[in-house]
Symmetry: C5
């Protein structure tokens, strides 16, 4: 996961120039289309752009899904065919956008971040999802094929529940909801990671634990950056200022808005908890340090004077009366042991033992 994508190729180009910023994640751009109303349902894969346009008029709701955005030519052609504003298309292919909602009079433009946690690399992955919500169509752009929109597709296919009875705005809502619901999965991973770290920090902290704490902290910065603006964006939708959103759907959007706030809340709580974990780590390390210092001090403090005494009677002076005394050696031992015991008592008093 990179926190910042190279965008230098863009500098100096006229506004509205399409430059793909991001990784190429699929081989070929794939356009699929679903169009339905309460009574009918039609689904097609790999639709040519021209056919899309004709197809679009057939039913109440058309959902055009574009997977892969690296092929600038195709994307540009698509944009022109659907009369999407060049600045909008520029944002679609530049995958470093913040989540946002923009009103282009004829359609709403919604940018989201799809987050997934790659267990294999134990890394956070981010993908940009752009939605265009028009009067009778929803266009969605994805960087690569994901299964996150699949449940929505299945529900429409089956025609159960609300999905077929309602309009484009409900479809857009369903897609946003699918993305936001997925955040909880990511949060769950981090929740587990943090709990694991909290236990590790108490039982056996290692420098690797610290490394992981710092990584999790950095991931939280990234998560926050991705989700925070989403809240505001959905709130714009929910407040029903746009003519594309009906009141019935606004209630549903309020629910997603609520979920976004919950996600942000959890991220903030996680941040606090990681800070706490870091504090615990640091004080446990400093506690160990203190223990080390105490052992050193106790050993040194006890033996340094004793060694001095031994040193004294190791001197080679000719006239050292003690050396001749018969009981001198045992007396020295007694003195040494007494001294050691006294010092041990002293340490006990100071609660160092």
């Amino acid at each position: 996961m990179k926190l910042f994508k190279k965008a230098s190729r863009k500098a100096g180009l006229p506004p509205g120039t399409l430059i793909h910023i991001g990784e190429k994640r699929v081989e070929k751009v794939k356009i699929s289309m679903i169009s339905y109303d309460e009574s009918q349902f039609d689904e097609k894969d790999d639709v040519p752009i021209e056919e899309c346009l004709a197809f679009k008029e057939k039913a109440a709701v058309s959902w055009i899904n574009v997977t892969g955005i690296h092929d600038i030519e195709v994307i540009e052609k698509f944009g022109r065919a659907f009369r999407l504003h060049p600045l909008l298309m520029e944002d679609v292919v530049h995958t470093d956008q913040r989540p946002k909602v923009e009103d282009f009079d004829d359609y709403l433009f919604i940018v989201l971040k799809m987050l997934t946690y790659d267990e294999a690399k134990s890394e956070l992955q981010s993908e940009q999802v752009s939605l265009v919500l028009g009067p009778n169509f929803v266009i969605s752009f994805q960087e690569h094929e994901g299964d996150v929109f699949n449940p929505v597709r299945v529900r429409i296919r089956n025609g159960k529940g609300r999905s077929r009875k309602m309009g484009c705005d409900y479809l857009a809502y369903a897609l946003i909801d699918a993305v936001v619901d997925h955040y909880f999965l990511v949060l769950e991973k981090y929740g587990e990671k943090i709990e694991m770290l909290q236990e590790e920090v108490l039982s056996q902290p290692t420098p690797q634990t610290l490394q992981m704490i710092h990584e999790t902290k950095r991931d939280m910065i990234f998560l926050r950056k991705s989700v925070w603006p989403l809240r505001e964006a959905i709130s714009v939708l929910e407040r029903g200022e746009s003519t594309f959103i009906t009141d019935t759907v606004a209630i549903y959007l309020r629910d997603v808005h609520d979920h976004a706030i919950q996600v942000i809340d959890s991220i903030e709580t996680f941040r606090d908890m990681i800070s706490g974990t870091l504090d615990v780590y640091l004080s446990s390390v400093s506690n160990k340090m203190n223990e080390v210092m105490k052992v050193l001090t106790i050993m040194a403090t006890i033996f340094i004077p004793l060694t001095f005494i031994a040193g004294i009677y190791g001197m080679n002076f000719k006239y050292m009366p003690e050396l001749e005394w018969h009981w001198a050696y045992p007396v020295v031992w007694v003195v040494i042991i007494l001294l050691a015991v006294l010092m041990l008592i002293g340490f006990k008093r100071k609660k160092w033992l």
Copy 2:
């Protein structure tokens, strides 16, 4: 207490699908009902859902209390019978909601967090309480049987005071008030805990103290997360924007709002105090460390040169004139004692002793 509940089972499901997120806390869903006006009072336990509906029309105010929300089937049936919005029902059974107030035209939906401090486990417990306030009914959903609503029940039964004379909004207020009043009990526990920690930190700090400080800090994060949005939620009610709240009750809600602010204030103060306690702990640990270092330094600094002197005269050179001198040994002792005294004076001057 978990800061984050697993919600992964929900991802991909259509909006409005009821999935119980949380622990199962009672065996069977129990529906009880109280209906009253100024002159009459009727109370029933274990009412079947159908009877509820009929019963509801009988009096000015009906209070339906549902204990246990884990049985999705029953809850779903209940929701349909009362024509509650699927998104509302979803929130009722998903116990990881933030406190909030939502206006569904036909009724108000209020989510609260009931907090209790489990002395046995010395743990903070959280339960989700949802209220639906309609024109002539209040529905309350609890996760398990608690005695927090009992005083309200008793007051209605006795018909003393205002409780029977006023409408549904007053009942809803009374329930919210009961929950918020209970927060003060929890705060009191933490207040005592923090005072105890403050004393312990000054008298005899141990790593366990540190552990408890960090735990209390984490609990404060959780408390804050539960109460902070409540303030805003009650403020929405109090401002009287909803038609379900009369002006008379708005004054009472202002009082609860005030209590919520007081709770938040106390939590913030507690946070500040725990931070202070942590600081005191850390400086007391560092003070002890300094003391340890000083003892080591004083012992080492005094005895190292003395041992060196002893070492010198322990050398076996053939020609060491001092060794032959008669008074050499006592002179060495004098030198050693002088050196030691000088160093002690030096330490005294530097205020290390």
Copy 3:
């Protein structure tokens, strides 16, 4: 000073139940009364509640002062006599309110915190003062007899200046002003304390200094909690939204508002300064530690190799040619002194000396 008062007795009681939360500070509830207009003045102590009511109608302005709020029966009777809202009376006797202004249509309710610094215990003391401002009366509730309202009383008695010419709102202003003016005295004490701490930290920091720094920090938390909401409360009054406040008095209230902001400003500055003082303390402690370590290192580093040399020639090998050399002993001394000097020079270079 307690940061949190026990309020657990209140949980479960109906709203508007009077429970005295706080310490009992006077023996008996005392009601005194002053009523005046420009031409007349009347003052009475220990007035029975009934007389109060009659008395109230006599003049343009009546000031009823209630000292002692622990006797719930008297207070309740008083409240009923004056038709004060039960929630208002509840707040009067529950001394853990935040400063606030509440509009009860027939009167304004104002809660303030009276702060005093108890020199004897060197402790901050807090007392709750509640004011009820009606069309022709002001009721003030105090926890114990204080002299802070005395200057106001004297000014009314003497009839000098504006005090007798103006209405109830001016009286309420004068009381608020007296309380806020008193804050400056408390701040002054803390200003002196902080300056004293700053000097102590530079000249001779002890663990007691640290203790006092932490205590002052905690007091600032408390002060802040008491004064911050006051600003907002007075601002509500000043903006002249209430019909009880005339424009002339609004200018005076702007002045008190200004004072409140000044007090908050000073508290924030004090907080910053204490943090600074704490930083200075910590770096001075760490400086001392470094000095200790340097002395240890210098002594050890110089004498350890020297002692090793002495140790070498203390060995008892049969064939150690150096031992037989005539000049060996002085040469060893020269080597030892050279080594010591070299190391001293090295330390000098590293600026450890």
Copy 4:
């Protein structure tokens, strides 16, 4: 510089009582007067108050400058003569006001802080400047004679540029501008000081450096306290809500507003930089400490085992075969040197050398 001035003498006095809070900085209160319009100009020093009033009517614009505010009697008389509100006069002589703008219907009251950096004492000096802007006069109160208003005076005298053609509001603007422009001089001093500290911290940090860092930090707190409210105050003027400010002058005030924001920006940047400098200082100190510890550890670790070996062969056992061996002594040396070299290599590997 004191962060807090004693205001205790004020407590208990009726509002509007003039008490001089601050230092007495000039001997005698001096009132000077300039009155001008496009065609005429008149200037007088030491004008008696009565003459002021008459004089005031003579021309389009009258600027009355009062230097020295410690003589309460004179100031009070002045205030009464010009019918200034007692609360305004109270603020003029109480030099601990925050910068503010207050609208008294008949005139605007503006409080500013004049800041100067006293190079001799290397101390920040603060003086309160109050302006009263009426329909045809500007009154300015200064604590002592400063040359900061001189350029304005000279420009009016010379009659060049805009100064004589415009009204009272422009004069008030010019005075405010003179004060704010002077802030840049003070900031420059601190800019230099901080740069000097940054260099010192890298080259040769001493405890004095730390002391200066903390002092600069405290000065920044003071600067911030003085300038932050100014921004808001000027913004009130600039927004042109007052009838005393014409649109033409509002553009000029926008410029001063901009300068005030620049000053605040610089203060914030300085705060960040000082924090950075403090961090650098602390890590450089901790780096030195580590170096000291490494030297100690290396010396001790190398020589302790070597001294032990020497100690072994210094023992006086009768049967120690090694002592008799002919090559024992050189072998011991070889062992000792080998050990030392091995340990040095080990340290090299650990990058301690």
Copy 5:
């Protein structure tokens, strides 16, 4: 890069006096001019000011670019010729402005900061760019010749795309866009630098790493100071409150606004990451310190008692029975080895090894 420029020369001068604050970066002030509409295009370098004015009327859009602002006389003449407000001209030559937009009725004044990263000096460079947007002209002031506006010039010359078809506001937008796009290049440099630092901190942290971390931190402070107010400034433009901005261009400005927010987001993320890197550095340093202490403690703790034993048997008492024992010496060795092994086991248990 200096965070604060000397502005002391300005103090005391009348408002609107032009004083160049900043470095002189080009030799001579150069005025170039481009004027175009959809059908025609005219470009001239080194145009005298008088010619500019005539020339200005020729086409729909005139872009006058002034490079070099140090020659006050020329700039002043230019300002008078184009009737630009003296305060505006003052800001143009005083290169320490914050980014801002000011409405002078007849034209808009826009101040921007052009940022470049000087690879040679590895230093951030800042240049002030001022734009004046009138009904049919755009004037741009640069401190030195840069190639950042070149792409805009080329696009106009070629007449491709939107650039020639649109008005002055689009030209102003294009220039702002060019500046903001350039920020991404600077951010990229810092992104790389921070990644490099993060790796270095994990692999081989040196005091130089710390130095670079602190420098990057300071640069972020500077970047933030330059870009933060830009957001607000562009938002003023975008909201279309000015008559100079058409609705079509407002959409483009929304895009730049979005870019500015992205830049700020990245700066904040970088700040968080640098703080993280600093934390990692500090804990890695403290880890090393602990390792050092452990080695010292282990060596000292093992050898100090052993040396003591050797010392004991180095004493010269006449009657020390052990010295005579035949197996004493090997027994001592056994004791010594046993002790060492026991202590090593102890350390192993404490996980110090």
